[in-house]
Symmetry: C2
Subunit: 160 residues, 2 copies
Amino acid sequence: MENGENRSDWRDDPGVAAWAALLRTHVTVLRTLAREVEGQTGLPLSWYDVLLELNAAEGRELRMQHLAERVVLSRTRVSRLVDEMVAAGLVVRRADIADARAVLAGITQAGRAALRHAAPVYLQGIQEHFARHLSVHQLTTIRQSLDTVLAAHGVSPHPS
Amino acid sequence: MENGENRSDWRDDPGVAAWAALLRTHVTVLRTLAREVEGQTGLPLSWYDVLLELNAAEGRELRMQHLAERVVLSRTRVSRLVDEMVAAGLVVRRADIADARAVLAGITQAGRAALRHAAPVYLQGIQEHFARHLSVHQLTTIRQSLDTVLAAHGVSPHPS
DNA sequence: AAAGATTGAATAGTCAATCTTA
DNA sequence: TAAGATTGACTATTCAATCTTT
């Protein structure tokens, strides 16, 4: 029936090939980036993401659930992440006045300082390990294409 | 110093925007795909990947280390994955005759049957949740671009 | 009852140490 | 000593159950 050559069945399909390339690029670049950022700043990449989203948010705070959406992690994971970051003094929890069920996480001054410290390392890492190898045209095509895919999944590319 | 608008510092950078889109697309599509494949075939996505690589390999078997490279996981993780798959009868371990340090993992008939069963679900899932939304030109650009990035990291896009 | 968040139990994954063979 | 693989201990992440408020 099939033999070793059935690789060609799918490795030639542009969709499958693009998806495979995306998977490999994700893991490869992310590993490099995470090691670099954490090594040079002491800040785990997931902490950086949380600080980034909190800092960019209205009033510099977000409900746990919205924070989870933005950093693309489960509510559970974010709850634990925030635990650690509160202990480290980078984030504060406070109750939502309007709805006592909700909890707001906000960035502290120390959090903002940590973010300022880590941001250039992170941005330069993206440049160095990813963007540098591609033209603006390629990067734009990638962004536009993937935003289309995200939209089809009901995910807004840049959550406001 | 900075305010809420410092988002524009980096969300406008084509490199950072492309990388952010890649991260979100990865997690979004992969979650959908994993749920679908595992739900419809009972085969976890990581098992599928292992079977796929073994089936495509020379002689339908690979050294643990090479298998780990192809599925982009640590040797440790692959060792445990293979443990489970051997227990499930989908994979066999055997010593390498040429080098007694090495262990070869091979796919069994049951493994091939499982792969045949799962492959259409997976390929259709990629089509449905990813490729369908993009043109061949876009897919090709993505693949070529990301292959360039991978090459810069010393990763061969399609490990032979 | 449903929404928001947290906790407990379980899976996925990694790193350092260990064992075996080259 | 190096390479290849596995094991143990640990971190990361998720799912189901729980608790509180709406």
